[in-house]
């Protein structure tokens, strides 16, 4: 079985600067794949090459079995793209713009169904201009999935969301993934990657510095744990032993006890440090 996305040796330069410096990627069908990395690391360039927006300089790229450097209508109809920022069509209602975009695809979803899916049924008759930021983002996602894509790209989908909207958004994405849509997500929120993604890749300075399961990325599962209590803290490979010792010392309850493994964020920050 071929992968949904296969990339080998991808490079891209902008006026002499190497934005993407040899990236290899394999993304399985049906997976949720998160691409992490600081601004300017080559994340967006990589994704835009996969989306067929940008030409690459070199490397082999296959997206749904085709070269995104030569996008066809058929290929585009199998892909959904949610871009970073859009302020388009302020004077159309949610339903009008959904119906318009549905006409572009050979097997589109019912616009009203999609509106319900993203939780905008009550705002379907509202002009896009009148929606809140979070609601607009839902319209973006709705437009991305109305064509029933096999592969959905989400570029920083929840930037500027409040925590509650973010959780509702995650449910929406999980639902799409559950239905078998392959999802490629770029995000700055490590928690988001951890919640949604089966696999993550960290890009820094145009290269992938780590890739894998978010739970074990960068040796996270086997890293030292930090045990802290009122009066001290220690990094250790054997936290249980430390806690037992402390328990003996305090004769029972240890004040302000906490045992923490490094978060995905700790690992991430270590990974993107310029070496």
């Amino acid at each position: 079985m071929t992968h949904a996305i296969q990339v080998r040796g991808l490079t891209k330069r902008y006026s002499g600067v190497e934005a993407v410096a040899g990236i290899d990627l394999e993304i399985e069908h049906g997976a949720v794949f998160a691409i992490l990395g600081p601004n300017g690391a080559g994340k967006s360039t990589t994704v835009e090459i996969l989306e067929g927006y940008r030409k690459r300089d070199s490397g082999e790229v296959s997206v749904l079995g085709a070269d995104p450097g030569r996008p066809t209508r058929q290929w585009r109809s199998r892909i959904g793209i949610v871009l970073q920022t859009n302020q388009d069509a302020p004077e159309l209602t949610v339903r009008e713009i959904m119906r318009l975009y549905a006409t572009y695809y050979p097997a589109s979803r019912d616009p009203d169904e999609v509106i319900e899916m993203v939780g905008l049924t009550e705002s379907a008759g509202k002009r896009v201009r009148q929606l809140s930021g979070g609601q607009r983002r839902r319209v973006d996602v709705a437009l991305g999935v109305v064509g029933r894509p096999e592969l959905l790209f989400l570029d920083e989908p929840t930037t500027g969301f409040d925590p509650e909207s973010r959780r509702r958004f995650w449910d929406l994405i999980s639902g799409l993934a559950h239905d078998g849509t392959t999802i490629v997500l770029t995000t700055h929120y490590l928690e988001e990657a951890e919640t949604l993604a089966d696999r993550v890749a960290v890009i820094a300075q145009g290269k992938i510095v780590a890739a894998g399961d978010p739970a074990t990325l960068g040796g996270r599962a086997t890293a030292k744990a930090r045990v802290s209590w009122a009066g001290g803290s220690i990094e250790t490979d054997t936290p249980t032993k430390t806690v037992l010792e402390l328990s003996g010392r305090f004769d029972g309850e240890i004040p302000e006890l906490a045992v923490v493994r490094p978060s995905l964020e700790d690992i991430y920050l270590r990974l993107i440090e310029p070496s």
């Binding site: 079985m1 902008y14 399985e28 069908h29 049906g30 997976a31 989306e51 067929g52 927006y53 940008r54 209508r73 058929q74 585009r76 109809s77 199998r78 892909i79 793209i81 871009l83 920022t85 859009n86 302020q87 388009d88 069509a89 004077e91 159309l92 009008e96 713009i97 119906r99 318009l100 975009y101 006409t103 572009y104 695809y105 050979p106 097997a107 002009r127 437009l143 064509g147 029933r148 894509p149 096999e150 239905d179 078998g180 849509t181 089966d198």
Partner: protein, 284 residues
């Protein structure tokens, strides 16, 4: 996860793949939505429609009277000229600014990521411009007839001339507007970048000032652009044979009108196809 999905067979779209929607169908759907969007953007409506109307009323009221020995009044002359300017405004100015805005606000980038055929986008634009231009002409004619004694021609041949000048003029202006939309660096500068040359063109193309009052080098410049020829074509329809004496060539030169407008139509199409950008400059 991939394995379970494969066996469950729930992966969408691979199973359903109908024929691609036709360009005409998508183009019509776009034209309907474009029309709604246009009339909901009150600023653009005023900008496009009110300009020639206000100018016609203004000039018609200031310059009354007849042009010697022709039976043509100054206000009739302005009506014909402003119809030309209105038609060009609906295409060139409206699209030049509108598409520059759509390039900046992400409309074009989003569309480029869908299977919408690019030709459907242009088709929708040309249709909306035809609708706007037709409305504009009807309003200007109504004002001309009721306020300034403009006589609508009774001969069918004049109306045939009107139709081909209108269609060639609108399509050419629309294509030029699409091409010009790539010039402004941002949506903010678009109104200035697009309107400035258009206003100059109106002054040198005989919309406001008769050619006889202008230096030859200016009329030579104007002769390169379509507006002069559109206005000339419309004058031949609405001013009648008496007005031909007012033309620089003492004739409406309809064959040259057709030639120049046709050339701009082809040139505009080539410009669009070779220079159109779906992304803004900052997007690279």
């Amino acid at each position: 996860m991939a394995e379970t999905v494969e066996t469950a067979g729930t992966r969408p779209a691979t199973v359903v793949s109908g024929p691609m929607p036709s360009t005409v169908k998508v183009g019509l759907a776009r034209a309907v939505v474009e029309t709604k969007m246009f009339f909901r953007e009150k600023d653009a409506v005023v900008f496009t429609f009110a300009f020639p109307i206000v100018l016609l009323v203004l000039f018609g009221s200031i310059f009354a009277g007849e042009l010697e020995g022709t039976g043509v009044t100054v206000s009739q002359l302005y009506t014909a000229g402003l119809i030309g300017a209105g038609v060009m405004g609906a295409g060139f100015q409206n699209l030049g600014i509108g598409i520059a805005t759509e390039r900046q606000d992400g409309t074009l980038k989003r569309l480029a990521g869908t299977p919408m055929p690019p030709s459907a986008y242009f088709f929708g634009k040309v249709l909306i411009v035809l609708i706007i231009a037709l409305l504009e002409v009807l309003i200007l004619l109504a004002i001309g007839v009721t306020m300034y004694d403009l006589d609508l021609p009774s001969e069918a041949s004049k109306w045939v001339t009107f139709v081909w000048v209108f269609v060639l003029g609108v399509s050419g202006s629309a294509l030029l507007g699409i091409a010009a939309s790539s010039l402004p660096r941002s949506a903010k500068s678009a109104a200035a970048v697009i309107s400035m040359p258009f206003v100059v063109l109106q002054f040198i193309s005989g919309v406001f000032i008769p050619f006889t009052a202008m230096p030859t080098w200016l009329t030579n410049i104007a002769s390169v652009f379509p507006l002069k020829w559109m206005c000339q074509g419309f004058r031949s329809v609405f001013l009648g044979d008496g007005g031909a004496a007012l033309e620089a060539a003492k004739s409406y030169e309809l064959d040259r009108v057709a030639l120049v407008l046709g050339a701009w139509l082809i040139g505009g199409a080539v410009l669009c196809l070779t220079t159109f950008r779906w992304k803004s400059r900052r997007d690279g």
